[in-house]
């Protein structure tokens, strides 16, 4: 699929992903194909709308990179304030995941156990568990 025509402006969200979301939202409802097609296109427009607005907000700030804050403000100013709570939840999850990963790597660094030793221990564990699972 992708951009075989090489034309960037034909990009859309994959139909399958949209179909799945529609199905989850309206479980027992049949949806006409042209309606689905429209939803796909609306998503594209939505993404452009939010990014454009977030970009403007970003430009007005002293930052060069669009941040979640900018996006949230964009949602607010475009009338999608009702999305903000859930969006913030996801953001929190994302940060938690990132934090855990950083902690995990810094814990390893601070253990004072050299990597070779850790690897050796890991190998032992793998050997141990692969024996018991086979």
């Amino acid at each position: 699929m992708a951009s075989s025509s090489g034309n960037d402006d034909d990009l859309t969200i994959p139909r399958a992903a949209i179909n799945k979301m529609i199905k989850e939202t309206l479980p027992n409802v049949r949806v006409a194909n042209d309606a689905r097609e429209l939803v796909v296109n609306c998503c594209t427009e939505f993404i452009h709308l939010i990014s454009s607005e977030a970009n403007e907000i970003c430009n007005k700030s002293d930052k060069k990179t669009i941040s979640p804050e900018h996006v949230i403000n964009a949602l607010e100013s475009l009338g999608f304030a009702s999305y903000i709570t859930e969006v913030k939840d996801v953001l929190q999850e994302c940060k938690t995941v990132a934090l855990k990963r950083r902690k995990a790597s810094s814990r390893l660094e601070n253990l004072g156990i050299p990597e070779e030793e850790l690897l050796r221990q890991q190998q032992e564990l793998f050997a141990k568990y692969s024996c018991s699972s086979s």
Binding site: P14, S51, T65, P68, L75
Partner: protein, 128 residues
């Protein structure tokens, strides 16, 4: 799926994930693997959090020449907002189908929802 010795976690991931400014090196971290393949390592966590492919969303954002760099987290929440948008418009359109005593959602139901709801005014251009 051993996350045991993930020792070489590059610092660049951190700055992008924290959405910090400036130091994102131009490419603002596409992640080593495309998120939608959802294969291994860091990409997995992201594909669990979003139903939509982040790389595609990022690509869509980039088709706008004015849009500058965006942090990974920003792309994330735009993905989430888009999910919510789909839910919202589908539910709103359903109301019209029900009014028409139909069990099948049709394009005109979406048209009606778009015309009726202020926040969807930006979509009027997508209607034929």
């Amino acid at each position: 799926m051993a996350a045991a010795v993930e020792a070489p976690v590059p610092a660049e991931q951190d700055s992008a994930l924290c959405g910090s400014e400036g130091e994102t090196r131009g490419a603002e971290v596409e992640e080593k693997s495309q998120p939608q393949t959802g294969s291994t390592g860091p990409a997995v966590a992201h594909s669990r959090l979003s139903k939509l492919p982040l790389a595609r969303i990022k690509a869509l954002m980039k088709t706008d020449p004015d849009v500058s760099l965006a942090s990974q987290e920003s792309v994330f929440i735009i993905a989430k907002a888009t999910e919510l948008f789909v839910e919202m418009i589908a539910k709103d359109a359903l109301v019209y189908a029900q009014q028409g005593k139909r069990k099948t959602l049709q394009r005109k139901d979406l048209d009606n929802a778009i015309e009726a709801i202020d926040e969807f005014a930006f979509l009027e251009g997508t209607l034929d």
